[in-house]
Amino acid sequence: MDAAFWLFFLFLVLLFFGIPIAVAIGGVAIFMIWQFDLGIQVISSNFYAGIAKYPLLAIPFFILAGMILERCGVSQRLVNLASLLVGSIPGGLAIVAILVCVFFGGVSGSGPADAAAMGAVLIPAMARKNYDREFSAALIAAGGSTAIVVPPSIAFILYGVITTTSVPALFAAGVFPGILAGLSLILPAYWISKRRGYMGEERGDLRKIWAAFKDAFWGLMAPLVILGGIYGGIFTATEAAIVAVFYGLLLGFGIYRTLDLRTFYRILVDAALSSAVVLLIVALAGLYSWAGATLGVMERIAGALLTLSDNPWVVLALVNVLILLAGMLLDAISIYYVFLPILLPIVAHFGWDPLWFGVVMTLNLAIGQFTPPVAVNLYVTTNLAGIPLEKTSAATLPFIAAMAMALILVILFPSLSLYLPKLWGLY
């Protein structure tokens, strides 16, 4: 039987039955390496080499930083301030939710983490204001997905590692597209709120705004600390992550005094376990793409895709549909490892910019994070809202459409992605 068939078919079947992604992708990889006699001894050394990479250190550090900042109360303070600023217009709380999701995306590198941090504060608050639960769950899942486009981003770290693209340059490239994706969500949020009569909050007076601003100030500074360091040439992405961790500790133990040692231990454990879940997939997916590449399967599929059309726009549209569909079913990490070996020869063939392509691909995956049936962010927010995931399908549609518009703009105008990296001399 053809290697390509087994590689994809086995993986899909195992996923379908709910086998953990890491086990499914690793099982198929090891089975293929063994069955096709590719040199089974390779699995141990390549598994190790798949994790032991300096840029990947940024993953546990950014996860840790995000959790510290969330649990020391930064989320609540951001919501307070944003409510006073824009809360008074119709659907005020919905717009606040989007803004703080994008803003917290500036310290968190993971969609579900952002959705969890913001959802914990906002979903109960929106319920109290009579927002439909499906609507708030869909909204915050969508808002949280911008965290993988707005830097820092675990997705960009993985894309950078796989394609050997500079991670700081990718981070810079994600700034405008991430903000654009966030802003695009405001249109449907406002429109739906107005139609359904979701009312705004009371308008805050200047004194209240100033007080809330002072209270949130150190939280507001967090993204600047992280990104300022990278763009000032002071830190690598990994160093920026570690600085963020200690900034969070300073806030939690020093300024806000909301952390204690017991909580800190829990945060360490949770961050370590979340990182392990991600990195175990990374290592085993690495074996999978090794098997695919060594068998020559990935090259052949890329070649086949190229024979479909010579027109770059047609192929680009095809590639986008492919990633978007994959994103509806699969998690972002496996998609990078399964699809990048296929897509990179195509990117090279048409001379597409790898930075721009990284942003386009990641935006697609961001959309995938809140499209049912498989949607990590929705999984988090529907749990918080206490509703079944399936019931949110309709509620997600306007947000999918809005972010697809943002995606099209990012595709059509590469300078949205490339302007900052060039300006900052990262590219």
Binding site: Q41, V42, S45, Y48, G233, W290, T294
Partner: protein, 314 residues
């Protein structure tokens, strides 16, 4: 024994340039001369060992990788004697290098790697490693004081830069390029034809020192497990193909860098200030790195270094 339908050949770098093209040439020659009995596929850019270069030798020994055109630097964790070529300011020119690798020390090294499971077929070359930086012309041992230099991640290289008072940094090439652009790292060391010209390092570094502080030979090797499965006729064909491909590869790697080194003009044309070390300057640098030499002499093997010293007349 049965032949495999396809044999895997590992190359750390991409398909362009002498190193990659030399490997491809070997694969093509072998296919042609064995009438397709031995079909070698080249895997470039370190694909076979997932980016961890120091695993290459291990995987060859296990038979996962059949062939490799490999840098001695990447095999040195398993074969410490290969650090002979990284002894600071040891080889002055190509004649000296050729005399050592074609003489008794070269044969001894091939014997050692074979003992560890890899058969050496021929010597290739990546080139003398030269220093570029953005700060100042380096022509005396004190000029490196405090300079941040990206160095290939091998202990002897790090020791050498420490001894020179520099601050060696070990980072992957992708990150290093960003660091050069931002100026967070001041310099790097690599061969001219293989890296400095193709990566246009003049865009980030104004100064280059042609100091020949270490040489980076390549070894075209084959896993002993694979080697033993070939018939004696095919083994002879492989040896000849390796010799032919490597002769071409070495000539390419040295192109423009012999005699009065016309390749350096390319660097000057792009605005680089080129400093070519005189024997006196080299002597001063050798003096300053003496401690590294003495320490690594033991790790490499006293006998082997003594043999090489004898050939060089030291």
């Amino acid at each position: 024994a049965d032949y495999k339908a396809e044999y895997k050949m590992s190359i750390v770098v991409g398909p362009k340039g002498p190193w990659g093209e030399g490997a491809q040439m070997f694969a093509d020659l072998v296919r042609e001369r064995t009438n397709g009995r031995i079909n070698i596929k080249c895997y470039f850019a370190g694909q076979l060992f997932a980016g961890k270069q120091t695993n290459e030798f291990l995987l060859m020994r296990q038979g996962v990788i059949d062939f490799a055109l490999a840098s001695t630097i990447n095999w040195s964790p398993q074969v410490p004697s290969l650090n002979l070529f990284a002894l600071p300011f040891f080889f002055e020119d190509y004649e000296q290098l050729d005399a050592v690798k074609n003489g008794a020390p070269g044969q001894e090294l091939f014997r050692q790697i074979e003992e560890k499971g890899v058969v050496g077929l021929a010597w290739g070359e990546n080139g003398f490693r030269e220093l570029t930086n953005r700060k100042q012309a380096v022509d005396s041992p004190d000029d490196l004081e405090g300079l941040k230099v990206r160095v290939v991640g091998s202990p002897i290289f790090i020791d050498t830069f420490r001894a020179l008072g520099a601050n060696p940094i070990n980072m992957n090439w992708g990150e290093a390029q960003t660091a050069f652009q931002q100026g967070t790292v001041d310099g790097q060391e690599n061969p001219v034809n293989a890296v400095i010209i193709p990566y246009q390092l003049w865009q980030v570094h104004k100064y280059i020192s042609i100091w020949h502080y270490a040489i980076d030979p390549l070894i075209l090797g084959v896993s002993k497990k694979t080697w033993d499965s070939f018939s004696p006729e095919d083994q002879a064909i492989l040896k000849q193909a390796a010799a032919d491909a490597c002769a071409w590869e070495v000539a390419q790697a040295r192109k423009g860098l012999e005699g009065d080194m016309p390749a350096l003009q390319t660097l000057r044309d792009n605005g680089m200030e080129v400093t070519v070390f005189t024997p006196e300057i080299r002597a001063a640098f050798r003096e300053k790195t003496r401690s590294v030499y003495d320490e690594w002499r033991k790790k490499i093997g006293e006998d082997l270094v003594a043999q090489a010293e004898k050939i060089l007349g030291r």
